[in-house]
Symmetry: C2
Subunit: 136 residues, 2 copies
């Protein structure tokens, strides 16, 4: 999950330049143990949920932890968030960072004009940017 | 969990000004269902683990999800990370953002000179900063 170097300009970077490009997905009919396994294997906190190839939800390690608290060991569909907040690859990071803050989320799937998931942008990617944004 | 306004200077902010000050803790002997309940209740992904009041680990929703993947429903002690990466309240955000990136973690307990946990800094706090850092 590499982050491409920031363009050497003073412009705010766009999502495409910062996002993780390896998309991890699970079908909505899968069990949460399968989703948990994908998170473990890929060291991710967030997995996009698809139905017939289209984005229908997002499931996070927090959702799985919540299922543990509630004593559920249900399907992905029962634990995921269905109204997924998304962004486009061409939006600027400051705009999307504001969206993450507003909705109190730590990751946002990146979708292209055909509604396909092409990446995931997390607050960790944005935080990484902060290590150099003010100093280069 | 409010973030104090950034000082109106061009200096990089320090951890103290950005961290969450409500510290959520669990004893290392607790079960993971209790830890998961704390995460749910407080809408957190990270809980500091104490033994006799001292920091001995960190447990995250990712660790709970991992326990689900592994079929464990064990104690906090068995699932937590024991070598906790920490920071001081007086370090600057860019330095600590670099530490998060280096260790691939999304949160870091803030400890004072007596080794007491006084806050938690997450990549979400840093990401929030990005929405205004370049524009004020
Ligand atoms: C390697 S990360 C992978 C997932 C994701 N990158 C994240 O930051 O949550 C997950 C592991 O990091 C550990 N961890 C999180 N914060 C930590 C910290 N401040 N010090 C040590 N380990 C930490 C967690 O206990 C968990 O086992």
């Amino acid at each position: 999950q590499s982050t491409k170097p920031m363009k050497e300009t003073n412009k705010t970077p766009v999502v495409r330049d910062v996002m993780g490009e390896k998309v991890i997905t699970v079908d909505e009919s899968a069990g949460i143990i399968e989703a948990a396994g994908l998170m473990k294997q890929n060291e991710r906190n967030h997995v996009s949920v698809l139905s017939n190839g289209k984005l229908v939800g997002i499931i996070t390690s927090w959702d799985i932890s919540k299922a543990v608290a509630d004593g559920n060991t249900d399907t992905v569909n029962a634990c995921m968030t269905k109204n997924v907040i998304t962004c486009s690859p061409d939006e600027t990071i400051d705009v999307v960072a504001k969206r993450l803050t507003e909705f109190k989320i730590s990751a946002i799937p990146v979708i292209d004009s055909n509604q396909n998931v092409i990446g995931m942008l997390t607050s960790e990617h944005i935080s990484k940017l902060f290590t150099r944004g003010k100093h280069e």
